[in-house]
Subunit: 129 residues, 2 copies
């Protein structure tokens, strides 16, 4: 059975989803080795089955094993996750979030990325008007 209405993931479930999203797709073995403080292989597969059941993951058989991937598009889930962080920590303001990131002690952004980012903003300004 599958339900989706409540995006209520447990701790382990979230960890696994993060891994799968970060990699795009992953086998049970990969998830297992990426998991922090990893439980048994068996436990990982049980979690994967739950996530499939809940409708968050799908899988395809490839070379005798299952390769899992998210059912919802990464960009969409990412946007919503980003919004949540913005709302929770930066009063919904992208500007404040970027400012915080830029103030990070260690080096963050390459000049190239900054340039592209600036271009992006300019473009949005013109379009928005």
């Amino acid at each position: 059975m599958a339900r989706q209405p409540i995006p209520t993931l447990s701790r382990r479930e979230r960890q696994i989803m993060d891994i799968v999203y970060a990699r795009g797709e992953a086998s049970a073995a990969v998830v297992h080795e990426q998991l922090p403080d990893p439980p048994s292989y068996s436990a990982v597969r049980a979690l994967l089955a739950i996530l499939v059941d809940k409708g968050h993951l799908k899988y395809r058989a490839e070379q005798g094993r299952y390769i899992y991937s998210p059912t919802r598009r990464r960009s969409q889930v990412g946007r919503s996750a980003l919004r949540r962080v913005l709302d929770t920590f930066f009063e919904g303001s992208l500007e404040k979030a970027v400012a915080a990131l830029l103030q990070g002690s260690d080096a963050n952004l390459s000049p190239e990325e900054l340039a592209r980012l600036g271009q992006l903003i300019e473009q949005a300004r013109h379009e928005g008007r």
Copy 2:
């Protein structure tokens, strides 16, 4: 007792931390009414006590009740949460994240915010050089 090494929060704990971070501080009653699918008041207070015990929240007595607030600075935790989202969904690229946000269907940013953001980027470019 307090431990901190593993920032492993349960579902409810995370929900509560989000509420407290979003508001800066909150009483048990406020947390209770903000919680989605709220349990009893009693349950909420138990969770708050656990979070204090784990070292994520502190409280001060005010007007006979406890006002809870995070022990770690919001900006710092926010930055780390932001990084996590970037790494998980946008290959660590702030640029890609902003792009995704700008593409959001509904209205997102005011022209003013875009302007300030652009300024911020420019400033970073000059400083970084």
